[in-house]
């Protein structure tokens, strides 16, 4: 193979090592390139490689709570990558041998874990038991999809050391009163999960409902909606006040409606297991970004 490395691939992934989590940026090349890493300002990491570019240089949207985005600038026999970060973390760099060679930059996800550590979050998957909620035109039920997204969200939050309490078991359908009993004064946030239903109208997309009795919840909902819509690339149906959530008083409360399940394109999205994971991660990132705004 020729002696100048050629860059072939760029992606991000989460790495779990026991209790530790990392956000990694990985750049692949035909042979190991010469790499320099700088931090022109806190929250920005610039990686420069002596290499030619074979891959597409378009930006990589990440938004995983630590890495926001990676942009690529090709130059004369060098290629620069700018990694914008949510926190002033620094990377550890490893360059592996082999074909392809991998330039791996690992950023600790500690700032995200520190934010969520020991926070109490009540998860409320809608419906349950004999109440299936809305039904999609092919066969999916709101009850089961809400459960699936809630499971994904619990997994994300518990990985970030939050404490998760459920309002129902898989086969139960408690009343709203019973669900609210799970909320205590030290609850950090209450998150209900439903799907919207609208008959055969062609209405699609995500909405986030909020607790109008708690200050700032409209902005909280807007942040979460923004993250979900960008992540799963779905139309936005906006944020709305929800009368039921007002019963939470001062406790922040959201009701996610990731899709309009009665639309069969939206129903199709629910079949993709990554969809639930993406909604879950986007929600966790959105909540954190709202509460840490201006910091």
């Amino acid at each position: 193979m020729p002696s100048t490395p050629r860059l072939t691939n760029l992606y991000c992934k989460l790495i779990f090592e026991g209790e530790e989590q990392f956000s990694a940026v990985i750049i692949e090349a035909t042979i190991p390139p010469v790499v320099t890493v700088e931090y022109p300002e806190p929250g920005t990491c610039r990686v420069t490689l002596r290499a030619l570019l074979n891959m597409h240089p378009g930006p990589l949207y990440v938004q995983d709570g630590i890495i926001r985005e990676v942009t690529v600038e090709p130059g004369e026999a060098v290629v620069s990558f700018t990694i914008s970060l949510d926190a002033a973390v620094r990377a550890t760099l490893v360059v592996t041998e082999g074909v392809p060679s991998r330039v791996v930059l690992r950023f600790s996800r500690r700032p995200l874990q520190e934010f969520y550590r020991d926070k109490l979050i009540v998860l409320d998957p809608g419906h349950g038991g004999s109440d299936g909620g809305w039904r999609g035109p092919v066969n999916l039920r709101e009850r089961d999809m809400a459960w699936k997204t809630a499971r994904a969200l619990a997994q994300v939050l518990e990985g970030l050391k939050a404490r998760v309490i459920w309002t129902r078991a898989e086969q139960e359908n408690p009343s709203w009163e019973e669900r609210l009993l799970k909320v205590t004064t030290d609850t950090f946030c209450f998150i209900s999960i439903h799907e919207h239903g609208a008959g055969d109208t062609g209405l699609r997309g995500t909405a986030v409902l909020y607790n109008p009795a708690c200050r700032g919840n409209e902005e909280l909902a807007a942040k979460v909606l923004e993250r979900i819509v960008a992540r799963v690339k779905i139309p936005s149906r906006g944020v709305m006040a929800d009368g039921e959530l007002a019963r939470l008083g001062e406790i922040p409360g959201l009701k996610l409606e990731p899709v309009v399940i009665t639309d069969w394109v939206d129903e199709g999205l629910l079949r993709n297991p990554y969809f639930h994971q993406k909604v879950a991660l986007a929600t966790a990132v959105g909540v954190k970004q709202y509460f840490q705004r201006g910091k």
């Binding site: 072939t8 991000c12 074979n54 891959m55 378009g58 082999g98 062609g202 394109v265 079949r271 969809f275």
Partner: protein, 212 residues
Amino acid sequence: MYYKIPIRTHIITENEDIVALTRKYSEGIAAPGDIICLAESVVAISQGRAVLPETVRPGRLARFLSRFPGKDGSLATPPAMQLAIEEVGTARILAGCAAAAVGRVFKKKGLFYIVAGRQLALIDDIAGTMHPYERHIVLGPKNPGRLVRAIKKATGAEAVIADVNDKGCVDILGITKKGYRQAVIEALKDNPFGNEDEQTPIVILKRRKTKS
């Protein structure tokens, strides 16, 4: 044996020259003896075979039949079934359904596609394809055999068009050298074309230098 080099590409859309862009992305990497592999769905998209379900008018037959195939596979929605009917004709679809019904009695799977046409197994229903085509129904590519020969001519390397599903099943639709078939299936099993956020529809299999 081969090294696997996935190449990140732009989002390939309708009316792009798949031969020219394969050549651009593999420049300086793929040499004679190496194998350039292309994901079937991207080839089909470049040929304008991605269809927005909203633009399909499913007939009564499509609405009725879409209730039967395995719900988490393809053809579970009326528009996808409608496109299948348009691809192979009503008679073959009905024959396929009859075969599937018989198959159910004898616990034999896959008869629908064997009878109705293997190309129908290539129809990716919504959510089976990456952004921005996740809302499209993507049909199988046209003329894969002719395309791989054109790619070989343009690059000097061998070429393959393949479909890899998330269960690791590799289906070769076009290949310039039949003898490489098994090696290619082995190499593509873990789906290096990527899914979701990865956009690597071109994978170069680079021949490892054997130690002498």
